[in-house]
Structure formats: C-alpha cells, structure tokens
C-alpha cells in the first residue's frame, strides 16, 4: 500500500513536471492571416509597430517568451517614437500595463500561433499532464483507505509534516499556486502549452478552442474530484461530510463547468446559475446585462434568476439552513477550499486580532462591491459611458478595474487560493468574499442555524478551534456551554467531526429567539435558583 502511494507521488510529480516544463518549450509561428486579423481586432494603428513586428515575427518560428517580448519591445519603441514627435498622435499609442497588456494584446496572438507537437498530439499531451496527475493523485489517496487504519478522525502528524505545517513543502506549494494564478490572470500568453492540454476536451464540449479559462475550469474540476476522493476516504465514517463533499463537487462540475460550456455550444451566454452577486461581481456590468438582454428568453431568465437568487433565494435559504447551504454545499470557492484546501484547514489564525481584521476586511469588501455596483447601474440607466469621468478623475470603468484587479484577481485568487498552505484554506471566504459577508449578516441575526453545544460535555481540548477553517474559536463557546452563532461559520461540520466527546452538532432548530443562544446553567453545575440569589446579593 505504501509502495502504491509512493508510485502515485512519482506519477503525479511527472504530470506536474510536464505541465510546468511545457512553459519553457514549444514553437509559435504567426501566419500572415493571423497577424492581420490580430492587428485589426486590437485596433493597432501605429505604422512603426506594425512594420517592425511584421518583419520580426510573421512566418518565423520562435518561443512564446520571445514572441511576447518582441511585441512588448516594439510597442515601447513605437510609443517612444510617437511621443518624440511634435504632435503626438494619441490614437496610435499602445497603452502598456503589466496587468493587462500580456493577456489582452499578446495572448490572443500567441494562442492562435501555436504550432508543432503540442497542438498535433492533443490527447497524448492531455494524458501526460492531466492524465498522469489525476491517476497519480488517486494512487496517492486511495491507499489511505488501508493505511490510515479503521475509519475515524485521522489527523495524525498534520502539525509535524512539512506540507501541512508551513514547512518547506508547504511554502513550495504556495509558490506554485501563486505563480499559477499570476500566469493565469496576467500572463496567459506564457501558458499556451498547458492550455493546449485541454484543447481536445474543449473542442469536444462546445467546438471552441480552449482558452485559459477553460483550462482553469477543467483543472478546478479535476483537482476537486481527486481531493473529493481523498475526503470520501478520510471521512467515510461521517455521512455529513460524504454527502456535503458529493454535493459541492456536483455543483462545481455541473453548474460552474459543464452547463456553461454546453450553453456556449448552443450560442448562449456562458452562465453559472449558482454564482450569486456580489461574489459574481460582473453580473450587473453593462456588457453582461447587454449580453443577457440580447440573448432572448433564456437571457432574460438568466437576468431575473440572478436577481432573485441574490435577493430572495440566498437570504431565505440562510434563514432555514444557515449560510452553509451556499458556502460549503454549493459555492465553487468553498468547494475548492473543502477539497484541495482540507489538508490546510488547521492553519487558519484563531486570534482575536485576526477576527478584528476579518470583520473590517470582509465588510469593507461588501461595501466596495455594493458601491461599485451602484455606480455601474447608475451610469447604465443614466446612459453615461462607463469610461467617462464621474468625479475626481475617476470613471466607473476605473472602479470596476480596481475591483477586478484587487478583489477579483489578487484577493480571491492569488491570495485566497495561493496562500492555502500558509494562511489556511478559507482566506478568501473568511476575509474577502462579499457574498459571505452578506450571508453572514443574515446568519448572525436571523437564522435557525446554530452549532449546538452539548451541555457540559466539553473538555476544552481545542480540536474544534484548531480545525475550524474560518478561524472561529469554537472552544471558547463550547467550554462555556454556549451555542455557536457566528456570521463567519460556513457549516463545514468539521468541528463536530473532530470533537472527541460528541459536544457539537450543526442543526437548524426552532427560531424562538432565546433557544438559539441560551445556556443551560444546570448542566454546567450552576443551579438556576442559586444564580438568581447571586444576582439579588449583588
């Protein structure tokens, strides 16, 4: 069994090695056709840029790095030249920004110009990357069924292992995650070979070539599936965990991946029916509203559904079941956190200080998202172009860009997922997600959900707090016999699972006000009469 696991590690690493290594290889050849349609679609008008790049790249084989650098270099040369002229022709200037130029200008050209082995051997290439990584991953986790011993809580060695206790393996993993997100969000022009690994699948699904987002979606689903298998083995004694993991995986694969891709195959907008505003912050952006309105009945249904989801379904469901129905049963971010992130849940910070930061940050993001959306809708209905200055030299487009960059990319992706092995698996959900903040407010003030503390059984061991991915100090409530009613609780159920004394139970009880938070003093050795006597004497 141990041998199978080790072979699994080797196969997985091979898959990843091919995946990462492919970034440094492969050739790209820009054909004249590709070149011209690219110049046209990007609206490039600088003659000097066109002349130079045409000479340097068209019909030449080179690496993605060289191709990208030549374009960047010539854009700079062109800009410099134009700015030296007496009269500057602003419409010929190519605006260069590290976070945009690569993905918006360079990527489309590079993506179209891939040649050679990777594009001709789609299925072998898929097998060498995803195939090996998935098979290897399964070989790593399935032997745990025997290796971990009889079913039960087996967190043995988590705080003594480099991968799960911020050791060197953890740091390297974080480095890999962060790098991946930076390439994905800002430099997709350099990961065209990895994208080609799923080209065949994309074409089979909806006839289109794979984009970086298709790669991300496919990778997301694969990672979740492999780690869901790990969850199924680890928590096979715990039905709540089994069902929850199955459901959250289903929602990711079906709602965030298959359905939207199939919609595209039928020329409908890419739409994730479970992604609610304000997590889905682009929902009210003009381009999205216009797309939906122009997509017939289905588009209008999507628009209405999106609004109803946020305004009615989300709060009503939180009232009955707590925010867990979304955060750890449906949401994609939650799904990844509960599968890939599970080995890191113990790394979340439990201090009072981090709770303070959490409340400022997450509600700050909610306010930011709300203001941004309000401005967006204002200019939409007032028919003001979104690039037009609104106040202090700022346009709505600027606000949207900042949000997209700082919150949408950096916070939720690079930090939220990239830092799993350092800050724990729910960084985004705990500190940043505006939808979680909204759900949390409902959960805290008007919901039937609570984690019930079982009378006086708590022994303050601290397993619950340690394994709370949201950094809730569960023990501080349990040892006082108090139920846990906290806005941040996503109801993953792991506190209850790791409790050695059967103290915690997630439940949706009566909402009779006091029953949710009341402490039963008799069970704690404090006779009620005696207490009232104390109060009189005070």
């Amino acid at each position: 069994m141990k041998t199978i696991k080790n072979i699994g590690y080797i196969i997985t690493f091979l898959g990843f090695a091919f995946f990462i290594g492919s970034i440094f290889t492969g050739t790209y050849k820009v054909t004249p056709d590709t070149y011209h349609s690219w110049i046209e679609s990007k609206g490039i008008k600088s003659e000097i840029f066109i002349e130079n790049t045409k000479n340097e790249i068209v019909n030449k084989e080179m690496s993605a790095w060289d191709l990208s650098n030549i374009i960047l270099k010539n854009a700079k040369i062109s800009n410099k030249y134009l700015k030296e002229q007496q009269e500057i022709e602003w419409n010929k200037i190519i605006h260069i920004k590290w976070s945009k130029t690569s993905k918006e200008y360079i990527y489309p050209l590079v993506r179209k110009s891939a040649t050679g082995w990777f594009i001709n051997n789609t299925f072998l290439w898929f097998f060498l990357t995803f195939g090996l990584a998935i098979i290897g991953g399964l070989l790593v986790f399935i032997p745990d069924y025997k290796l971990l011993g009889p079913a039960g809580i087996k967190n043995n060695g988590l705080f003594q292992h480099s991968a799960t206790n911020r050791g060197i393996i953890g740091l390297l993993t974080a480095f890999f995650f962060v790098s991946f997100y930076i390439f994905l969000y800002f430099f997709p022009n350099l990961i065209v070979n990895p994208i080609l690994a799923v080209n065949g699948i994309s074409k089979a699904l909806n006839g289109n070539s794979a984009s970086q987002w298709f790669l991300y979606g496919f990778m997301y689903c694969s990672v979740m599936t492999v780690f869901a298998v790990r969850m199924f083995i680890k928590y096979r004694h715990n039905k709540y965990q089994m069902i929850r993991t199955g459901v959250v995986l289903f929602f990711q694969v079906a709602f965030a991946f298959l359905i939207p891709e199939i919609l595209v195959a039928f020329n409908k907008p890419w739409f994730d029916f479970k992604n609610a505003w304000p997590l889905n912050y682009t929902f009210f952006f003009d381009w999205n509203l216009n797309t939906l309105i122009n997509s017939g009945n289905l588009g209008v249904f999507m628009l209405v559904w999106g609004i109803v989801l946020t305004a009615v379904i989300v709060p009503v469901m939180v009232y009955f079941y707590g925010k867990r129905w979304y955060c750890s049963w449906v949401c994609g971010c939650g799904g990844l956190a509960e599968t890939l992130g599970d080995p890191y849940r113990q790394l979340s910070d439990k201090s009072l200080f981090s709770w303070k930061i959490e409340r400022w940050l997450i509600h700050g993001v909610l306010v930011f998202a709300t203001i941004m959306t309000a401005l967006t809708l204002y200019v939409y209905f007032a028919e003001i172009p979104s690039w037009k200055e609104l106040f202090w030299g700022i346009s709505v487009y600027d606000v949207q860009t900042w949000y997209g960059f700082f919150i949408g990319s950096i916070f939720s992706g690079v930090i939220g997922t990239g830092f799993y092995p350092i800050l724990g698996n729910r960084v985004w959900c705990r500190f940043g997600c505006p939808l979680a903040a909204y759900l949390g407010l409902v959960q805290r003030f008007k919901s039937r959900f609570r984690i019930t503390t079982n009378g006086g059984q708590c022994i303050s061991c601290g397993n619950c707090s340690t394994y709370c991915e949201q950094g809730i100090d569960v023990r501080s409530y349990a040892q006082k016999g108090q139920n846990i009613v906290r806005s941040s609780c996503v109801g993953c159920g792991v506190c209850s699972a790791v409790c050695p004394r059967g103290v915690l139970k997630l439940e949706n009880g009566d909402d009779t006000g006091s029953s949710r938070t009341e402490v039963n003093d008799v069970l704690l050795g404090n006779d009620i009469d005696l207490l009232s006597m104390t109060k009189k004497n005070d």
Binding site: G149, P150, A151, G152, I153, N155, N156, G157, L158, F159, Q160, H161, H237, N238, K239, Y240, I243, Q346, S351, L352, T452, N454, G455, G456, Q457, I459, S460, C461, G462, N463, T466, R475, S476, Q479, G493, S496, A497, V498, P500, R501, G502, K505, L506, E507, G509, D510, T512, S515, N520, V522, L523, L524, G525, N526, D527, L530, M533, T534, N537, D538
Partner: protein, 443 residues
C-alpha cells in the same frame, strides 16, 4: 480587596480565577510549576499525535492574563504556613494570601514496581510527561502500557499513531470492566485489537528492567514473560497531588478534605478539582472526582463563595464521556459494571459492533437510571431532564429521537432499538418524532 492565591493552573484553578475576576476586583495570583499558561490536559495526546500544536491546547491567548489582572507565577509550592498565611515557593520566595485555593490536581499512581523510576518510564499526565514520551518515542521499538483505564488507552493510541508496536497490560479480565458492563468492555477489547494493539488481559507488571544507561530495556509480567521495550507508560490511575500539604495542618485523607462549600478545616483555605475529597460522597459520586467538568464546576462554586455568595457544590446528575480510539462514549446517569439488585438492563448493539446503547432502569418502577452510549451521540440536556423528571425507560425509548445528537444524515437506529426492547419485554412501544418543543422544555 482580598489577596487570593490559587495553587494550580488547571481547569479548576483557572475557572475559579476567571469567575473571581468577573465578580470582583480581588488581587488574584496563580502559581504553577508545570507551565506558565493554562492548557487543556485532555489535549496533550493530540499534541503528540500531531493533530495540534501545544499552543492550540491553550484556551486563552497569552495577553488574556495581564488584561484580566491575573498574576501568573511559575513555581512549585514547597509548603503552606496556615498561621502566617504564607506559601514557600521552590524558588525561595514567599507569598502571602488572604484566601487560598488549592487546585493541585492529580499525579499518576506508582505502586512500588521495581524499576519504576528508570528512564523512559513515565505516566501520561503532565506537560513534562508529554515531553518525556516525545523524547523516548523517537527510537522506540516497542512500548508497554501498564493499566487499562482511560489514560492507558489514550497512551496506546498515541504511540500506535506513530506506528510503534504497543503491548497493553490490563489487570482485569476485560478492558475497564470495573466501570463498563461486560458487553461494552468486550466491544472495546475488539476495537483495541482491530488497531493492532497487543492487548494482554489479566496480566500484571512484575518488574521493569533497565539497561546500562538506566533506560528501560524490558519488563516482566506475572505470566512469566519478558517483553523487550524502550518505553513504559504507567497509567494505573491517578491520586490527589497533595504531598506538600502533609504537615500543614490542613486535614487530608487521600485528598484535601472539604465540605460541600469546598472549605477545608482551615478558614479561608479551599480545595477544588481533582485534589479535593468530599467528607461525604455526593449521591453516587465518588468522594474524589478526577473529571474535567467537576473541576470546572468546583472552580465556579468557590468563586461565588469567595466573592460573598456562599455556595454549595452541586454537580447535578452524573455524566461523562471519553473516546476509545475511534469509538466515542458518553454516559448519563448511572450504569454500573454489574446491575444492582433492583436494576434491570436493556442492551442494543449495532451489527457493525461499534455502536451500542445500554440502559439501566429500575425493575419494579421502570424508572430510568442511566445510559451508556457508544458510537452514538446523545443530548445532555434531554437526559438530564429525564433524570430529574424520573422518567421510565419506556418514555426514554419512545422519545429517543429527541436525545439523538449525531451529525445530520447519520443513520438513525431508534426504531431498531425500540423493536429489540419490544421483543425482549413483550411491549409495543413506538418511537415518537423528534420535537424541538420537547427538547427545549425545562424540567
């Protein structure tokens, strides 16, 4: 403002300190030689197993003590002078008090076995014990645990989690059968073996043999067997840690003798937690209760007394819990290893052999006396209410769904349980649906 000194920073002493601070402005000093900050002793095993770091066992962050004006002194107390109201610490300092709370807990029992003080022979009680085990587990080829109780099985689990072969010597014919009825005890025997722990029942330790470095190298048993090992755990129970009070004038038996107000024979001196011994046992409870929650309750009680509301220690109906490897155990009310004259039993075990409930009730009145539940969680407040209301076993079985505390979606066994009872007793009880109203109803 009184000057209150607490000896011991376990759950009893800390709870007392916290509640005195809540109710008053008294000066509070806590003395402990073991660690500076309060930690949860029950979690030490998880630190060894790598489930937690030591800091996770500390329920309060380090700034908590200063903020609440609770002074911490890390030292052992050598003796107590009741006349001058002073303590002598092992660092040479003296400390005076107005009120003294003794909360020194327990120490592992050692029964004078030859070799019991060798290196790598240890109890599993204190932070220091944990450090010892961690140190000697590194190159341990086999460990022997002596004593089949709650700490013994925890220590076996700890070492087994590191793939160290463990031999588990148990004096009794079945694991913990002085407390558990035969069926449950047998279930745990099986589970211990399932974990590949070498369980030796009815086997006693005779001698611990050392090597040339003074470290254990083997033990011998009363079956004439010599077992080579590099680590020995002595887990044959604990007793109150009160030796330093011997000549103080404070009345001792096995522990510090206290009345229901937790007062000793000396005014202004109280004892709480594992080290306190009731003159008269409370109900069926033992005079010395080395249980987590009783320490906490005594701490709260003594805090009220010291802050001007003399209060009686009222632990209420007996309850407890534990975890044997993967099997959780809870108990409410009393169910002895062997039924008493007036008692009848009802036992149900799931076919997987890892879940069971065992109910003790009065033969004649059918009054519910107590329950052991293994592998199924039960609601404390519901059983406490049933005990107070003196409900019958029929009532308990019919309303068992109210008491179920297992996580959502877990298989429910109430109908199977009640069916077995009906067959055995010729009754026709039916399970009632779970009712939130009943669950929240006060006794």
């Amino acid at each position: 403002m009184k000057n209150i000194v607490i000896i011991g920073n376990g759950v009893a002493g800390i709870t007392a300190a916290r509640h005195i601070r809540k109710k008053s402005d008294h000066k509070i000093t806590i003395i402990s030689g073991e660690t500076k900050y309060f930690f949860s002793r029950t979690a030490l095993m998880y630190v060894f197993m790598g489930h937690m770091k030591f800091e996770h066992t500390q329920p309060y962050e380090n700034w908590f003590w200063k903020k609440n004006r609770i002074d911490l002194v890390q030292s052992y107390v050598n003796n107590v002078d009741i006349n001058t109201k002073t303590l002598k610490l092992d660092n040479g300092e003296t400390l005076s008090y107005d009120d003294l709370i003794i909360a020194t807990g327990s120490k592992p029992n050692k029964f004078g076995w030859p070799g019991q003080d060798l290196k790598a022979v240890t109890g599993m009680y204190s932070k220091q014990d944990l450090d010892t085990i961690t140190e000697y587990a590194k190159d341990c080829k086999r460990a022997v645990i002596v004593g089949g109780g709650l700490i013994g099985i925890e220590m076996a689990e700890m070492l087994a989690s590191k793939n160290i072969p463990v031999t588990f010597l148990v004096r009794e014919a079945s694991f913990w059968n002085g407390v558990l009825p035969a069926q449950e005890s047998e279930m745990i025997n099986r589970h211990i073996k399932e974990h590949h722990i070498d369980l030796r029942l009815e086997t006693n330790l005779v001698e611990i043999l050392g090597d040339e470095h003074g470290r254990v190298k083997a033990i011998t048993t009363d079956k004439g067997e010599t077992i080579e090992c590099n680590l020995v755990g002595l887990t044959a129970g604990v007793s109150p840690n009160v030796n330093f009070l011997k000549d103080s004038g404070i009345e001792l038996d096995r522990g510090v003798l206290v009345n229901r107000q937790l007062e000793t024979n000396i005014p202004n001196i109280y004892a709480i937690g594992d080290c306190a011994q009731q003159h008269q046992a409370i109900g069926e409870r033992r005079p010395i209760e080395a249980v987590w929650y009783t320490g906490r309750m005594m701490g709260e009680t003594v805090a009220r007394t010291i802050c001007g509301t003399p209060s009686t220690y009222q632990p209420g109906h007996w309850f407890n819990s534990a975890k044997f490897l993967d099997i959780e155990y809870q108990t409410y009310g009393w169910i002895w290893a062997k039924p008493r004259e007036n008692e009848a039993r009802f036992y149900w075990e799931h076919k997987d052999g890892k879940k069971s409930i065992h109910i003790n009730y009065d033969k004649n009145t059918k009054e519910f006396i107590g329950i052991n539940n293994f592998g199924i969680r039960m609601r404390h407040n519901v059983f406490d209410k049933w005990l107070t209301e003196k409900r019958t076993i029929e009532h308990v079985l019919e309303h068992l769904k109210d008491a179920n505390f297992d996580p959502e979606f877990y298989a429910q066994h109430e109908s199977e349980i009640i069916q077995k009872f009906n067959i055995e007793n010729g009754t026709s009880l039916v399970t009632k649906k779970k009712s939130w109203k009943r669950i929240f109803q006060k006794a």
